[in-house]
């Protein structure tokens, strides 16, 4: 079994980080995993995408045209990737910033106001963690606790951010299960 998650948003939203956390958790769970950033031109800004492929067998092509799932943190990302998600996948929409929907009826669309929830726990920059937790809870792609551990490890060096991020995760999880 192989699943692929496309994380997408704009630079500064922490896309690469949550993708890495997921990949890390998957590795710890014993899966094969690949994390592929779409590294753009040698300059700043613009969009940031990152694909994570998780599999129980050695992973072939790291290039995936149709990902299993999508975590869309801003509108252009949703518009770009929603059409190519495989039927049955989770499409997580950061509804704080995205006023539209995927337009797909064959996917599991999950609306989470990630920025708002992050603001509520005290820092809008945790929106990515909210979204990650929401996505994992909804897709059950990995064991939720494992991902929580991976987040904790990611912030090991900045320990005082951990409580905030744990709170953000919780909000994300609840939001995903609520909708």
């Amino acid at each position: 079994m192989q699943s692929e998650v496309m994380f997408a948003g704009f630079g500064g939203q922490g896309i690469l980080l949550i993708a890495k956390v997921l990949a890390h958790a998957a590795m710890e769970a014993g899966f094969e995993v690949v994390w592929i950033p779409s590294y753009g031109p040698e300059m700043r800004g613009g969009t940031a995408y990152c694909m994570v492929v998780i599999s129980d067998r050695p992973i072939g092509s790291p290039i995936i045209r149709n990902p299993g799932h999508l975590v869309a943190m801003n509108r252009p990302s949703l518009e770009k990737f929603a059409p190519v998600v495989k039927p049955g996948g989770v499409v997580l929409i950061n509804s704080s910033l995205i006023p539209v929907r995927s337009g797909r009826s064959d996917v599991d669309e999950c609306l989470v106001p990630a920025n708002d929830l992050a603001m509520e726990v005290g820092n809008v920059r945790a929106a990515n963690i909210v979204a990650l937790a929401a996505f994992v809870s909804r897709s059950r792609i990995l064991d939720y606790d494992l991902v929580r551990e991976a987040v904790r490890e990611e912030f090991a060096a900045k320990a005082k951010l951990i409580p905030l991020n744990m709170e953000a995760m919780e909000r994300g999880r609840q939001a995903a299960l609520a909708t």
């Binding site: 031109p41 040698e42 300059m43 700043r44 800004g45």
Partner: protein
């Protein structure tokens, strides 16, 4: 009624957004060069040379013929053009990694041969485009991705003052240093560029204007902090002014 001024985009600059980061002064420098080209009325015979660096896409912003050089080689390309087509007005636009590191040989020799082109040398004390590596112009103690503990002058030497280095050559040249972090400096930078192009048009000498510029992104600063750091730290080491004029060189 206030006696105000009009202000608009010069013709030599295309009406399109740039890819530069917010507050990056590359944009100001572009505009100044374009204004001078307009003023001198030479757009129809100007060839610019884009470097490899953040300004690699300069050709998308200027409204005149352009070539794109390899990293550091703009002075050699400019030499090639001016030697076979002395009627063209040629300028290179180069960053500090481009000109002072990999391109050191080319700029020294072009300056020393007295090639009749103009170099706009944008010194932001770092490699912008590739993500903030140390440049030969990086300040002692400055943290970059390849000097994560700060530039250690005992290990890698002091920053190179390109303008002074080139001015030490015997061949006559116009060499000036300015910055564009505030309007008062901008006016002087514009004058220096005007002078540099004029020397070229008079077929007089090689000319180079070093412009101390900012890289808020890779310095990890806000645009305003970047302005302040430039003024305090960079300008102290890279003082603005005319470093060499052909007249002075000829008097010696």
């Amino acid at each position: 009624m206030a006696k105000g001024k009009t202000f608009k985009r010069p013709e030599a600059l295309r009406d399109c957004p740039t890819h530069y980061c917010p507050g990056c002064t590359h944009g100001v420098i572009h505009r100044l060069v374009a204004e001078v080209i307009d003023e001198l009325g030479v757009r129809g015979r100007t060839v610019g040379i884009a470097p490899v660096g953040c300004a690699v896409l300069a050709y998308n912003y200027f409204n005149c013929d352009f070539q794109e050089a390899a990293h550091g080689r703009a002075p050699a390309m400019a030499t090639g053009i001016k030697r076979v087509r002395p009627d063209l007005m040629v300028f290179t636009y180069q960053g500090d990694g481009d000109l002072a590191s990999i391109g050191m040989g080319e700029i020294v020799h072009a300056a020393n041969r007295g090639e009749k082109f103009t170099t706009i040398f944008v010194n932001n004390a770092i490699y912008g485009m590739t993500g903030g590596q140390m440049a030969p112009t990086t300040m002692p103690g400055q943290r970059t991705s390849t000097s994560p503990f700060g530039r250690d002058a005992a290990q890698v030497g002091m920053p190179i003052r390109v303008a002074e280095l080139l001015a030490s050559l015997q061949t006559p040249a116009y060499i000036a240093r300015q910055t564009v972090i505030k309007p008062k400096y901008i006016a002087r930078a514009r004058k220096a560029i005007h002078k540099a192009f004029s020397y070229q048009l008079a077929n007089r000498c090689f000319s180079l204007v070093e412009i101390v510029s900012t890289c808020p992104t890779n310095w990890g600063m806000t645009p305003l902090d970047a302005v302040e750091w430039t003024e305090k730290t960079l300008l102290a080491y890279y003082p603005p002014g005319e470093i060499k004029t052909p007249e002075a060189a000829e008097e010696r």
